[in-house]
């Protein structure tokens, strides 16, 4: 798996996007916006919440995986903050609310779940490990 390690800082998003663009196999370029979006959502959360008041790092990895015989582009994001599973702990937003009642924020995890076919979370080796499985474009 090609991996990129970055300090936990918002200005790294550009480097992450460049890395992802270089990893997406030819023919799968249509996935790029979704993968960049998912990476941004996860990393912004890591940069904002995983290391309160201290420096930290994140790791991003890309690889092709066959899950149950079906090929996927897989994005992995890892951080060394306190255990936090965004998929079970972040509340589901109500996307039917109108302007006045809409809380600001809380849409990141929802966007990811909507764009991937499968997502996984595990905590091991003192790190949060998230894997996102993007279905290949037809």
């Amino acid at each position: 798996m090609a991996t990129l390690s970055v300090p936990a800082s918002l200005e790294q998003l550009g480097a992450v996007n460049e890395f992802i663009a270089g990893q997406i196999p030819e023919g799968l370029a249509a996935l790029l916006p979704q993968v960049e979006l998912a990476a941004e959502e996860l990393l912004v959360n890591v940069f904002s919440y995983a290391y309160p008041g201290e420096p930290g790092k994140a790791e991003v990895g890309c690889r092709m995986v066959r899950l149950d015989g079906v090929p996927f582009f897989c994005l992995a994001v890892r951080d060394w903050g306190a255990p936090f599973d965004p998929f079970s702990e972040a509340p589901e937003p109500d996307t039917a609310l109108g302007v006045a009642d809409r809380p600001i924020g809380g849409l990141g995890v929802h966007l990811i779940k909507s764009m991937v076919r499968h997502y996984s979370y595990s905590y091991h080796d003192a790190s949060n490990c998230i894997e996102l499985y993007f279905a290949l474009p037809e």
Binding site: L10, E11, L13, G14, P33, E36, L37, E40, E41, V44, P93, T95, A96, L97, G98, V99, A100, R102, I104, G105, L107, G108, H110, L111, S114, M115
Partner: protein, 111 residues
């Protein structure tokens, strides 16, 4: 992210281009706040040049929506590309916005 601001028949058209993400949304916020402070009361947001938006961008848009609603400012959108449209749809933003195919149509809707 870049933007241009044009006055058309008393409607302010703000056209954005580039990426609307966590590192650039502040420029979006500044742009519309400056127009509202300058007294604009009808606003068209032309997203034709926006190729990418994340939840940070949605946050900027929601701030704009709330400000226009409470300030009684007319607001319309145009130039919603494929990626932006999908993110709007998934987030339930499509129903909250007045969306038009072209800047002309958006300006006309606020006339």
């Amino acid at each position: 992210m870049q933007h241009t601001s044009t006055d058309r028949d008393g409607v302010t058209v703000l056209a954005f281009s580039g990426r609307m993400d966590a590192t650039t949304v502040a420029a979006f916020d500044e742009a519309w706040r400056a127009r509202l402070e300058a007294g604009a009361n009808r606003l068209v947001i032309d997203m034709g040049g926006i190729e990418y938006i994340s939840s940070a961008g949605l946050r900027g848009i929601l701030g704009l929506l709330k400000a226009c609603k409470s300030g009684g400012v007319g607001l319309a959108f145009c130039g919603i590309g494929e990626m932006v449209g999908e993110v709007f749809r998934i987030s339930g933003f499509t129903g909250m916005l007045s969306i038009h195919p072209t800047a002309d149509a958006a300006v006309a809707a606020l006339a």
